[in-house]
């Protein structure tokens, strides 16, 4: 199994009441989408996240089908509003 750190920001941190969680997904073929599924199962409040949130993997925006590896950091990002 791969252990992935999941981080929640801004409104998503409020929704889940959580800033960071560790989830485990199968080692070889898991994607950000799989991480998101695990999060919905294990983090209370995560069910109210949108179906396809913006996500980042290791500090870069990625699509939900990006592959994850042990030690990766996935972040779930509300719509960006910097500037």
């Amino acid at each position: 199994m791969a252990q992935v750190t999941v981080r929640f920001f801004a409104r998503y941190a409020e929704l889940t009441g959580c800033e960071s969680a560790a989830v485990r997904v199968p080692d070889n073929s898991a994607t950000v989408r799989d991480v998101l599924e695990r999060v919905r199962e294990t983090v209370p409040g995560a069910r109210s996240l949108p179906a396809r949130p913006l996500a980042a993997l290791n500090l870069r925006q990625v699509k939900l089908d990006a592959r994850v590896s042990d030690g990766d950091e996935v972040a779930l990002l509300p719509p960006l509003s910097g500037g």
């Binding site: 981080r7 920001f9 801004a10 409104r11 980042a56 500090l59 870069r60 925006q61 972040a75 990002l77 509300p78 719509p79 960006l80 509003s81 910097g82 500037g83």
Partner: protein, 137 residues
């Protein structure tokens, strides 16, 4: 070197000093400041710091790739920013003004699209509201 994310008021003079030089005769600066829309008294900015810094580095590198003679820098402020104060400042200096304007404009557009930074509006009546759509400031 300045830090690109700061919790303190932004100094335009420091940004100018960082990009200016005697061979760069045109400098364009953009400042985004908190507007007094509706009953807004301030905006609380929060960031995914590590990713924001990584994106800023990538954006600055891309600008340098497009305009090799230009130098650009930016500072984004986070934390509570009162109405009227700057949340972002960008400075772009180049030998000629076309590149200075273009590089500055490029950076603000990329910042708005790519930085993992979020705004929560604070109102005079004590209410708060996440800003979820791009504004067009």
């Amino acid at each position: 070197m300045m830090t690109h994310l700061t919790r303190s008021p932004i100094s335009v003079a420091s940004l100018l000093a960082e990009v200016h030089s005697a061979e760069r005769g045109g400098t364009c600066v953009f400042l985004g400041t908190v507007r007094d829309d509706d009953d807004v008294t301030g905006i609380e900015y929060s960031a995914y710091d590590d990713m924001a810094l990584a994106e800023i580095t990538r954006i600055v590198d891309e600008a340098r790739g497009r305009w090799p003679e230009a130098r650009v820098t930016l500072q984004h402020r986070v934390g509570l920013i009162p109405v009227g104060e700057a949340s972002i400042a960008i400075a772009a200096a180049a030998p000629h003004r076309d590149e200075a304007f273009a590089a500055c404009r490029f950076v603000i557009e990329e910042v708005k699209q790519r930085l993992p930074i979020w705004k929560k509006e604070l109102r005079g009546d004590g209410s708060e509201k996440w800003v979820e759509a791009h504004d067009h400031r």
